[in-house]
């Protein structure tokens, strides 16, 4: 946009219009601008932009420029000139500034040794009255502290103008939170650093020194990872007892509202070890979750105090963001949430108790719980929770325990635990302490149980157990019965589990149960949850089920509702919504519209998880599938060629998507006529599917069909027939004899029989069933239905049922003509069949000519198609009879 000031003409014109419009209302403004800037779109755009900017501006004293000036002049204050001397030290440059004064980097300049120090100056005029004794005390305190994680005091004194100074060990580092974020340190490493800080504070407490201002800016971490606690500037001796009035007032000036404990805001309350425990809780919260537990940004002292005293702290797991997860090496916000729920939340909550005596009694106790958590041992404050120890045990032995009978016992036990504990807590409702604990832990426990159960269910889903454990179904059935019958008091938990179970039953291909569970979850969410994301997730599951049940129109409505509920879904939710909608569109024969959705899906998951992540590889497989369906076989092949090596590297050898890619490759080879390559790929895929999903599964059925077409192309009619029949049997078992999937399988078997020319009646029966089912299940203009009709028409023709054949073929032709394909194979085939059909009774020269035309065209397009060969025969017969 041309808006540079040096374009004087434009400037003057814009200025004139701006002045004319600035006081008008929106409507008048628009009218005026339209009239005045005809033929000057550039000017209009500029003026509109300026008016919009003008309307959005903050008051002059508070806009961005004013803030910038404030910051600049603020920073100019108390700039100690470089080179100024304090004692043996010469100022080099400023490091930091704060309520106590300014900290400079300084160098020893007395000709003895080279030494860099952090020189802390406190301006005399402002703080003169109480700073001198304070500084003297700080000197005594600090000089007594010698610890690897505490910055040492080197010297203290007064400069030439009376300014008091401290020379402290210069720590070349960054605040601990920044250090962790810049290095994207994992939780474990962050907790390790936090333990170092605890050790320093614990040591100081043992010397009867409390810090009173622990916060991330006061904990610097060097490049080599060594954490140093700075600035015992407001520390006081525990031994001194309650401070006198003047001191607390001074302390009030210096406290940091983000990390100060409630009692630090109260002038007459003693401030001791508990305040440091509180501040450590704030620091822990920031380190692990990335957020402060209580936000006092922009509040004045009184409002900040009010909030710190009364607002419940935000526990670290509550405010997890994708960004925070990413900075901790985790794939998404829920992974971080799961890691923090339970122990860490409980530890932070304990530190942040409003009453000092309810916090950890010592930093040692806090550190001990962190260490226990890291060692996966039960933490002290949660030991009273029944079942808690058992869960710790499972975590600790997660690898060894596996997914067998032990898991089954725990699973059932955990459902029972959730109910029992709830009842027990209800009984103790009058006990205030208990109620408070319940509030703190309720959320954490419910979600922990959900996660635990969902984890187990996922582990019992065939994709995960990969066919090792046949008894999984029994296990899940048992759990389902428990969940459906119970958990009335915990609707949230129940809804999550019903949804998760629905997914599991989909994997079992038990559609009735999956649907019942998904609906139950959705209605439970609707009636009990105000969280739109949760309601959307439950609704999405019903859409997934609707797709599988062959009700894409219903699914589409549900998906629209999902989109209305959630505007900024996390990548997982977004991906699942996109994939489900793509499936829906495929089922509605809107293949082309599905392509961009899956392209976006690949984009979403690759951005969120990286291109080597199984989720990205799986999304790519799906995209390849829909590209193929949209006729873009070369694009699909290119995608798969790219991702297959990655899949071999990053997926387990029996990952379902590996099977999926193998079958896609097999199909591609088959479609290029390379049956030698296609056959082993398809056989490998079939074996994998059988192993992963069992015989009666959609996957096994589809792969059997693909292999059947390959065998058929190799001329192995019996093998092919057996495979087609097997596929049909599976589909009928799973989806029912009247499903769209059954129609497709009937068609495949029927057209195979038709092509092999043997069981003509059987072929006709299968094709009739295919068309009958598809007429019920598919939209009337669905391309599959039309294709089924070609084969049915052909069979009817061969059986001499010319009138029926004509009707069926004309229905197909109408669909093909409405959606012409590039090659025109189906149109040519249908016209050929129609012509051939007319030859039956009439044998007109016109029909023969039409048939000849169609056959010539078909030989160019698809010379090897069995249906083309049938037309060849028809033409040959017709011409011979003519002769």
């Amino acid at each position: 946009m041309a808006e540079r000031a040096d374009d004087a003409r434009l400037w003057a014109r814009a200025r004139e219009l701006f002045d004319a419009c600035v006081d008008l209302d929106d409507v008048q403004r628009e009218r005026h601008l339209l009239d005045a800037t005809a033929g000057e779109p550039e000017v209009r755009a500029l003026v509109e932009r300026l008016l919009a900017t003008h309307a959005d501006l903050a008051p002059t004293r508070d806009d961005r420029i004013a803030r910038g000036i404030d910051a600049g002049v603020g920073a100019l204050w108390c700039e100690a000139p470089a080179g100024a001397r304090f004692g043996a030290f010469r100022v080099v440059r400023e490091l930091a500034r704060g309520g106590m004064g300014v900290v400079y980097l300084a160098e020893r300049d007395d000709g003895t040794v080279a030494q860099r120090v952090a020189l802390k100056l406190v301006a005399g005029t402002r703080f003169g009255a109480d700073a001198a004794p304070r500084l003297a005390r700080e000197y005594r305190l600090l000089a007594a502290l010698e610890h690897p994680h505490i910055a040492r005091l080197i010297d203290a004194g007064a400069g030439a103008d009376g300014t008091a100074y401290f020379a402290m060990e210069y720590v070349e580092g960054v605040p601990i939170t920044r250090h962790c974020d810049e290095r994207a340190l994992a939780l474990r490493a962050r907790l390790g650093l936090f333990l170092d800080v605890c050790a320093a504070v614990q040591y100081a407490h043992a010397q009867l020194v409390v810090h009173r201002d622990i916060k991330s800016a006061n904990v610097l971490v060097r490049d080599d990872g060594l954490a140093k606690l700075l600035d015992f500037g407001i520390a006081m001796r525990l031994a001194d007892g309650a401070p006198d009035h003047g001191e607390t007032l001074a302390a009030g000036i210096f406290l940091s509202p983000h990390s100060a404990a409630p009692e630090q805001f109260r002038p007459n309350d003693p401030v001791g070890v508990a305040a440091d425990v509180y501040a450590l809780g704030v620091l822990l919260c920031e380190l692990v979750g990335g957020m402060r537990p209580i936000d006092v940004d922009g509040l004045d002292a009184e409002a900040a105090m009010e909030r710190v005293e009364h607002a419940p702290p935000l526990l670290p797991s509550v405010a997890c963001t994708l960004e925070a997860a990413d900075r901790r090496g985790l794939a998404n916000a829920s992974a971080l949430r799961r890691a923090l729920q339970g122990d860490i939340d409980a530890i932070v909550a304990r530190c942040l108790e409003k009453e000092p005596q309810r916090r950890y009694a010592s930093v040692a106790a806090l550190a001990d719980d962190i260490e226990r958590h890291l060692a996966r041992r039960p933490i002290s404050i949660r030991a009273h929770e029944r079942g808690y120890r058992a869960r710790r045990f499972v975590h600790r032995h997660a690898v060894a325990t596996g997914f067998g009978a032990v898991a089954a016992a725990l699973l059932v036990g955990f459902v029972a635990y959730g109910i029992v504990t709830n009842r027990e807590l209800a009984r103790q409702r009058d006990d205030a302490r208990m109620r408070e604990q319940q509030a703190v832990f309720q959320r954490g426990r419910a979600e922990a149980v959900t996660d635990f159960l969902v984890g187990l269910f996922r582990s019992t889903a065939p994709e995960q157990t990969r066919g090792h454990d046949v008894g999984a179904r029994e296990l899940v059935d048992k759990a389902r019965a428990g969940v459906e019958a119970g958990l009335a008091a915990q609707p949230d938990l129940k809804a999550s589990m019903l949804s998760a179970l629905s997914d599991v039953y989909l994997a079992f291909d038990d559609l009735d149960t999956a649907e019942r569970l998904a609906r139950a979850a959705a209605s439970l969410r609707d009636s009990t949850s105000t969280d739109p994301t949760q309601r959307a997730a439950a609704l999405l599951q019903t859409a997934v089920v609707a797709n599988r049940r062959g009700r894409p129109a219903d699914a589409l409505k549900m998906l629209d509702a999902v989109d209305r509920l959630v505007h900024a879904p996390d990548p997982g939710m977004r991906s699942r919504t996109l994939e489900t909608r793509a499936e829906t569109l495929l089922a509605l024969a809107r293949t082309k519209e599905a392509v961009p959705l899956l392209e976006e899906d690949v984009d979403v998951v690759t951005t969120a998880y990286g291109e080597d992540d199984p989720r990205a590889l799986r999304a790519t497989t799906k995209l390849a599938g829909v590209l193929r369906a949209a006729g873009r076989v070369d694009d699909a092949q290119a995608l798969l060629a790219l991702s297959l090596p990655r899949m071999r590297r990053n997926l387990a050898p029996d990952d379902p998507y590996l099977a999926e890619s193998l079958i896609a490759l097999a199909m591609h080879a088959r479609n290029h006529g390379d049956m030698d390559q296609a056959e082993p790929l398809a056989k490998e895929a079939l074996e994998l599917d059988q192993r992963i999903y069992g015989e009666n599964s959609a996957h096994t059925s589809r792969t059997a069909q693909v292999l059947a077409t390959i065998e058929s192309a190799r001329g192995r009619k019996d093998e092919a027939r057996a495979l087609f029949a097997r596929s049909l049997a599976i589909v009928v078992a799973i989806y029912g004899g009247d499903s769209a999937q059954a129609a497709s399988a009937e068609f495949n078997l029927g057209s195979h029989l038709q092509a092999s020319g043997a069981q003509v009646d059987e072929a006709l029966a299968h094709l009739q069933r295919a068309v009958a089912i598809a007429t019920q299940r598919l939209p009337p203009d669905h391309i599959n239905l039309a294709i089924y009709r070609i084969s049915l028409g052909s069979s009817l023709r061969e059986r001499g049922r010319h009138t029926e054949a004509d009707a069926v073929l004309r229905q197909a032709l109408a669909v093909f003509e409405a959606n012409p394909a590039p090659r025109g194979l189906n149109i040519a085939l249908t016209r050929g069949e129609l012509a051939c059909n007319e030859l039956g009774p009439a044998r007109s020269a016109e029909a023969i000519a039409a048939l000849q035309g169609a056959v010539i065209a078909l030989h160019r397009i698809a010379p090897d198609e069995p249906s083309v060969l049938r037309l060849d025969r028809c033409l040959a017969q017709a011409t011979s009879r003519r002769r």
Partner: protein, 197 residues
């Protein structure tokens, strides 16, 4: 009683204000720049951090330079006009040096104790780049020098619209119009494509 310093500066101001040359402006700059910078640097000793107003600083500079001429209204107006421009340079130079500091690998200063410790990172989005503002004001003064002057007086001398009118001998309405437009233009330029807040 005026010092010889103040006489000289008064003369410079008068010449500069009555359409004087770049030389006078440069001479005034040379006199005022170190003074304003030094005053800013020493303010910690006298007031709490959050109460700074540009007017205070410039007022203080004026008091230092013209101890006996507070009543000379015209002189003071001239002084404000140049002092606002000097302040703009002081602030912009400060940020330029900071920028150079960072490039040299030095540690960026932290705000330790104020509400929102470490707010310096978050604040970046709410705070304009003053080096860029300085550059834009140069651009502005080539096409509309009066508007640039108004902006300087409003932002860097902290004057109100009527006060700016007094200094520049313009009607309040004229100042307001010019100011509105120039301010919108600056903010729009500072944040291309997004609303300036």
């Amino acid at each position: 009683m005026p010092t010889s310093d103040s006489d000289e500066i008064t003369a410079l101001l008068q010449r500069w204000r009555s359409g004087g040359s770049k030389d006078e402006e440069l001479a005034l700059f040379t006199r005022l720049y170190p003074l304003l910078r030094q005053l800013a640097a020493h303010r910690l000793r006298r007031s709490a951090p959050m109460t700074w107003q540009p007017t205070d600083l410039i007022g203080e500079a004026y008091a230092r330079l013209f101890p006996g001429q507070r009543a000379d209204f015209r002189n003071r107006q001239h002084f404000l006009a140049i002092a606002a421009r000097v302040m703009r340079r002081v602030v912009a130079d400060h940020f330029r040096e900071r920028g150079a500091d960072k490039r040299g690998g030095a540690q960026a200063p932290l705000s330790l104790d104020q509400l929102g410790a470490e707010a310096d990172i978050a604040d970046v989005e709410r705070v304009a780049d003053l080096v860029e503002v300085d550059r834009l004001l140069d651009e502005l003064s080539t096409v509309d020098p009066r508007a640039a002057e108004i902006v300087e007086l409003r932002y860097f001398a902290g004057l109100t619209v009527p006060e700016v009118g007094d200094v520049l001998e313009l009607s309040e309405r004229t100042v307001k119009r010019s100011w509105q437009f120039a301010r919108a233009w600056l903010h729009a330029r500072l944040e291309p494509g997004a609303p300036a807040t």
